[in-house]
C-alpha cells in the first residue's frame, strides 16, 4: 500500500453510495435473517407472509439448545408438546476439540515444512506445488480412500481420526501461508546467527520465528476458521462418539418439520467465533486465501 497522502484522493459519488448501501444490505440480510429466526417463536418461523421483525425477543430457542427440550407445535396448535433434541454442548465441545487439534497439527506440520521449503529448498520446485494440489482437488475425492483406510485402522468415529483428516487438509494452507511469511525475512539474518554458532534449526526458531510471529498467528486463526466450519469429513467420519456443530445442524429434522429456530440459534453460536477470528485477521485474509500469492 502506498503512502496515503500521495494518492489523488477520489471522492465517492452519490451513485457509489447507493450501490454500496445496497451491497451492504444484501451482504447482511441472510445473516440478519438467521439472527431473526433464532429469536422468533415457533409460530413465526415459516409464517406467510414472512415475519420481517420478530414480534418479541424470544430466547426459548437458545434455551432449548442447551436443555435439550424444544417445543414442537403439535398439529393442533397447542404449545404444551415438548420434544427432545440432543443438547448441543457435546457438539460444541466436539467442534472445539477437532478444530483445535486439527489446527495445532496443521500449524506444526506447516511450520516445519515451510522452513524446509523456504530455507533448504527441499523437493525443488515441484514439492510445494505437490503440497498445494492436495488442496485443489475436491475433498470428496480424498474422502473415499480415507473412509476405506479409516475403517481398517479403526479411526472412524474417533476424535483422532477427524483431527488427522483436518490436519491433513489444512496443512497446504499453512505451508504456503507460513512460507510466504518466511520468504520475507532475509536469509542473511539466519546466516549471521549461524556464524555466531547457532545450529540451522535453532537459527530458524530463535531468529526467524520471532519475526514471523504475527504471520503464524494469522495462519493459525485462518486454519482454525477452516476447521471449525468443515462439514463433509465430520459428517461422514462420525457416527456416535464424535459430533461437531455443522453435523448437529443436520439433526434438527424433527418429526414435525425442521426446527428452524434452534437451528438458527446454533448457527449464530457457531459463527460468532468465526466472525471474531475473521475480523481479527482481516489484513492477512487475501494472502491466506490465495496461498500467499497476493501480498499486502
Amino acid at each position: 500500500m502506498g503512502v496515503k497522502g500521495e494518492r489523488f484522493e477520489e471522492k465517492l459519488g452519490k451513485s457509489g453510495w447507493i450501490s454500496l448501501i445496497v451491497a451492504v444490505i444484501l451482504a447482511i440480510f441472510p445473516i440478519y435473517w438467521i439472527i431473526c429466526t433464532s429469536l422468533k417463536p415457533q409460530i413465526e418461523w415459516l409464517a406467510v407472509p414472512p415475519v420481517w421483525i420478530p414480534s418479541k425477543l424470544d430466547f426459548t430457542n437458545y434455551l432449548a439448545l442447551f436443555t435439550g427440550k424444544s417445543y414442537a407445535a403439535s398439529p393442533y396448535g397447542e404449545e404444551s408438546f415438548t420434544l427432545l433434541i440432543t443438547p448441543v454442548q457435546r457438539a460444541i465441545l466436539g467442534s472445539a476439540v477437532c478444530a483445535t487439534g486439527g489446527t495445532v497439527l496443521s500449524i506444526v506440520v506447516g511450520l516445519l515444512a515451510a522452513f524446509g521449503i523456504s530455507r533448504h529448498k527441499i523437493g525443488g520446485g515441484f514439492f510445494p506445488l505437490f503440497v498445494l494440489s492436495a488442496r485443489m482437488i475436491p475433498p470428496v475425492c480424498a474422502l473415499i480412500p480415507i473412509i476405506v483406510l479409516y475403517s481398517t485402522l479403526r479411526l472412524a468415529d474417533t476424535y483422532m481420526g477427524i483431527i488427522l483428516a483436518y490436519g491433513l487438509f489444512t496443512s497446504p494452507y499453512s505451508v504456503w501461508m507460513i512460507r510466504s511469511f518466511i520468504d520475507e525475512v532475509p536469509v542473511q539474518l539466519e546466516e549471521s546467527a549461524m556464524v555466531d554458532g547457532l545450529s540451522p534449526l535453532s537459527a530458524h526458531f530463535k531468529v526467524t520465528l520471532p519475526l514471523i510471529k504475527g504471520g503464524v498467528l494469522a495462519t493459525t486463526l485462518f486454519v482454525a476458521v477452516l476447521n471449525w466450519s468443515e462439514f463433509l469429513f465430520a459428517y461422514t467420519l462420525s457416527h456416535k462418539n464424535v459430533i461437531t456443530i455443522p453435523v448437529q445442524e443436520m439433526y434438527f429434522q424433527a418429526a414435525y418439520g425442521i426446527l428452524y429456530g434452534p437451528q438458527s440459534a446454533l448457527g449464530i453460536i457457531a459463527i460468532i467465533p468465526l466472525m471474531i477470528f475473521g475480523y481479527s485477521i482481516q489484513r492477512y485474509l487475501a494472502r491466506g486465501l490465495t496461498f500467499g500469492a497476493v501480498k499486502r
Binding site: 500500500m1 500521495e6 494518492r7 489523488f8 484522493e9 477520489e10 471522492k11 465517492l12 457509489g16 453510495w17 454500496l20 451491497a23 451492504v24 451482504a27 441472510p30 445473516i31 438467521i34 415459516l46 406467510v48 407472509p49 420481517w52 506445488l129 498445494l132 494440489s133 485443489m136 482437488i137 475436491p138 475433498p139 470428496v140 475425492c141 474422502l143 473415499i144 473412509i147 476405506v148 471449525w228 466450519s229 462439514f231 463433509l232 456443530i245 455443522p246 445442524e249 443436520m250 428452524y260 437451528q263 438458527s264 448457527g267 457457531a270 459463527i271 477470528f277 475473521g278 482481516q282 485474509l285 487475501a286 486465501l289 490465495t290 496461498f291 500469492a293 497476493v294 501480498k295 499486502r296
Partner: protein
C-alpha cells in the same frame, strides 16, 4: 455452468465493489468489514439461511411481491430445475463475492500511484484510467482470483447438499455431489472412486496448467 456463472458474477460484483472501496469516504472501515462478513459464515449455515430465504412464500418471494405488485408468493425456487440452479448460483455469489472483492482490492491497492497520477495530470477520465492502467496492472491478481475461485466452485458441496441435495431429481447434481451420492449414500465405493479419479485428473490438469504458472511467476 455453475462454475462459469458464479465466477463471472462474483468477479464483476467484486471488481465493482473493490473499485468503489478504493475511493475515500467516511465509514470506510465499517463498510469494508460488513462487506466481508458473508465469507465468515459457515457453509452449512449459509445453506440453511438460503434454504429459508428461498422457501416458497419466504422472504424473497414476499419482497418481490411487494415490490412488483404481482403475486409471486409461490415461486418453487428449489424444486424446479432452472430456478434451483439460479438459487444455487446466487447463494455461491453471495457467499464468495467477498473473497473476490478482498483479493481484487488488495490488487488495486498495490498498484503504484505514479502512472495513475501521471494519467490524471494528462487529463484521462476515470474510466480510461481504470481500463488502460488499473486493469492491465491487476492482470495477475485477476487471474489468480479467477483460477482459485474456479477450483473452489468445482468443490462446491456443502450448500448444495443442504439446499437441494442434487435434486429435484438429479437436476442440480455436480460432480462432487455425484461422487458423494454414489460412494457414501449408495455404498458403491468403486463407482464413486472412479468418479473421484476423473475429478482428480481434471483438477490436476487445471493445477498444472493454470495455477502453477501464476503462483510460480508471483515469487
Amino acid at each position: 455452468m455453475l462454475v462459469a456463472c458464479a465466477v463471472a458474477g462474483e468477479f464483476l460484483i467484486g471488481l465493482y465493489l473493490a473499485n468503489l472501496l478504493s475511493k475515500t469516504f467516511r465509514g470506510k472501515r465499517l463498510v469494508f468489514s460488513l462487506l466481508l462478513s458473508p465469507m465468515f459464515v459457515m457453509p452449512i449455515v449459509v445453506g440453511y439461511a438460503f434454504w429459508m430465504i428461498f422457501q416458497p412464500a419466504g422472504p424473497l418471494d414476499h419482497f418481490f411481491t411487494v415490490i412488483t405488485g404481482i403475486n409471486l408468493m409461490a415461486t418453487p425456487w428449489l424444486s424446479r430445475a432452472n430456478l434451483a440452479w439460479i438459487a444455487l448460483i446466487l447463494t455461491d455469489i453471495w457467499h464468495w463475492t467477498p473473497f473476490m472483492f478482498l483479493v481484487l482490492y488488495a490488487g488495486l491497492m498495490s498498484i503504484p500511484e505514479n502512472p495513475i497520477n501521471a494519467a490524471k495530470v494528462l487529463g484521462a477520465s476515470g474510466w480510461q484510467i481504470f481500463k488502460d492502467i488499473k486493469l492491465p496492472m491487476m492482470k495477475n491478481v485477476i487471474i489468480i482470483a479467477i483460477v482459485i475461485r474456479s477450483m473452489e466452485v468445482m468443490k462446491f458441496f456443502d450448500e448444495l447438499f443442504i439446499m437441494t441435495g442434487g435434486g429435484p431429481g438429479f437436476d442440480t447434481e455436480t460432480i462432487s455431489m455425484f461422487t458423494f451420492t454414489q460412494a457414501i449414500s449408495n455404498s458403491r465405493i468403486a463407482y464413486g472412486s472412479t468418479a473421484a479419479i476423473i475429478i482428480l485428473l481434471i483438477s490436476l490438469i487445471l493445477v498444472v496448467k493454470a495455477v502453477r504458472p501464476v503462483l510460480v511467476e508471483e515469487r
